[in-house]
């Protein structure tokens, strides 16, 4: 179903949703940094900047409680968190590189173990994509088979029009339900042309060739030169729309506390640090190799998808300027 919605109506739609108690998450400024966060009012939305963290947060939170424990004398009571309590959410203003990431995550979170925390949130969220109009030389979505107008992962996709307002098209029942639920705010599609979209310059990677190289070169001296720069922080993994590793830790005192699930990163030394003290990936190149392998080989082997949507966040934010596009490009030339 194709429709048109004006800028004003979109804000009204969001304010109505907020009023109804639905959690509306969109890019907004938080102490000077653009982030996907729940809005208090539609006016807070900032559409022109790529949020510093990806949209995966709505489904795979930075940190969430999964169980609480309480000790009264010798008696210990455990209480699970009931996923039913996750709020209805509408994720608005999601760039194609973030939106396309979510189906990639669906694969791993519904793999041999159904992660009800992720899936319940996934069920309760409608994703409203937004075509991408501004890219910088770090973006390389086109190189991994996406594009500024890619609708994959979006329930409803808005494309900004030259004369203002957005052409919107629904790609799932949730999308349609959203339109139907507020039909008065939508109008029939006009014929105004779309705004010129962003053009990332990187040309398409030969992902097949990259994977082939990676299949053979687990042990290779070039990993040293590629990864010597990496200092082992978690910035790239945490801002990446598709990285999904997490750690479970109990926090609290003897008397009471919570079991929490929070993001972890393979770049950390402690990620593979065994209780015995042994660490299979003790050197930084081994850890960084795992990042490339997981994104361009292991995920392909398991789910037939590339674990990278080319959003460029890891390139912009890497403390030591490691450029994954440069690395993949070099591998594709090997």
């Amino acid at each position: 179903m194709q429709k048109f919605i004006s800028e004003q109506n979109l804000h009204t739609l969001l304010d109505k949703l907020i009023a109804e108690g639905t959690r509306v998450v969109a890019p907004r400024m938080n102490a000077g940094t653009p982030l996907y966060e729940p809005l208090k009012s539609a006016s807070e939305m900032v559409a022109d900047q790529l949020p510093r963290r990806s949209g995966k947060e709505a489904f795979f939170p930075l940190c969430e409680d999964i169980m609480t424990y309480e000790k009264e004398g010798q008696k210990v009571t455990l209480k699970d968190i009931d996923p039913a309590r996750f709020p209805e959410t509408v994720l608005v203003g999601v760039r194609p590189c973030d939106a396309a990431a979510i189906p990639v995550l669906d694969a791993v979170f519904s793999w041999d173990y159904k992660d009800e925390f992720f899936l319940e949130r996934r069920k309760k969220t409608t994703i409203v994509g937004l075509a991408c109009t501004s890219a910088d030389d770090a973006c390389f979505c086109t190189a991994v088979g996406l594009s500024p107008s890619e609708t994959r992962g979006s329930d409803l996709f808005l494309t900004p029009l030259e004369d203002g307002g957005y052409a919107c098209e629904s790609y799932s029942e949730k999308g349609e339900a959203l339109i139907k639920g507020h039909l008065e705010l939508f109008a029939e599609p006009g014929n105004s042309r779309a705004v010129s979209l962003a053009q990332p310059q990187t040309e398409k990677f030969d992902l097949k060739k990259v994977k082939a190289w990676l299949d053979e070169h687990f042990e290779d001296s070039s990993w040293d030169s590629i990864a010597t720069r990496c200092v082992g922080c978690g910035a790239c993994a945490f801002v990446c729309p598709v990285c999904h590793c997490f750690d479970i830790v109990d926090e609290g005192t003897e008397k009471s506390g919570k079991r929490r699930k929070n993001w972890d990163a393979c770049g950390f030394w402690k990620f593979t640090h065994h209780a015995s003290g042994h660490n299979p990936r003790d050197q930084q190149p081994k850890r960084y190799r795992n990042r490339i392998m997981h994104k361009f080989k292991y995920y392909e082997d398991k789910f037939g998808q590339t674990l990278c949507t080319g959003c460029g966040r890891c390139i912009r934010l890497c403390p030591v300027g490691i450029d994954i596009a440069q690395i993949v490009e070099e591998i594709s030339k090997k």
Partner: protein
Amino acid sequence: MHPEKQKHTFEPKIIAFVCTWCTYAGADLAGTSRMQYPPNVRVLKFPCTGRIDPVFILKAFQQGADGVLVSGCHPGDCHYIAGNFHARRRFAVFRKLLEFVGVDLNRLQFSWVSAAEGGKWVEVVTDLTEKVRAMGPMTEFRELALEEQWSGAINTPELEEAYNQI
């Protein structure tokens, strides 16, 4: 979001980190002299103020202390020669950091109490207890402990009720 609480008499929780050679002995002297002082203080014994790590002060506030007292030997009296000199510098810098982050320094008291100054111990503890009682509970760290990242927050009844208790 919190209904206005009625003001019941608030009993501040004071944690005191003391060195065993001087202040702990001073507190013992206050005991043997049967001096009376408010029961809000809980005393932790250390070999020397040099052993008191600033993270313990942070930990104390996080665990709900409304006031923290750190006390040891007067400079020059340290049983370990220089423990309190290092501590003095460490705390001079740490309290500036806490102040900069927004902790009200009236809740953090440093003092020298020798083994003969039972009276001074009582005075320091009583002053701090009354001062903190007047200031009310230290809400900063308690509220902070309940804050969640937006994505992990679920408005559960316990969360509501916990908020009200602060």
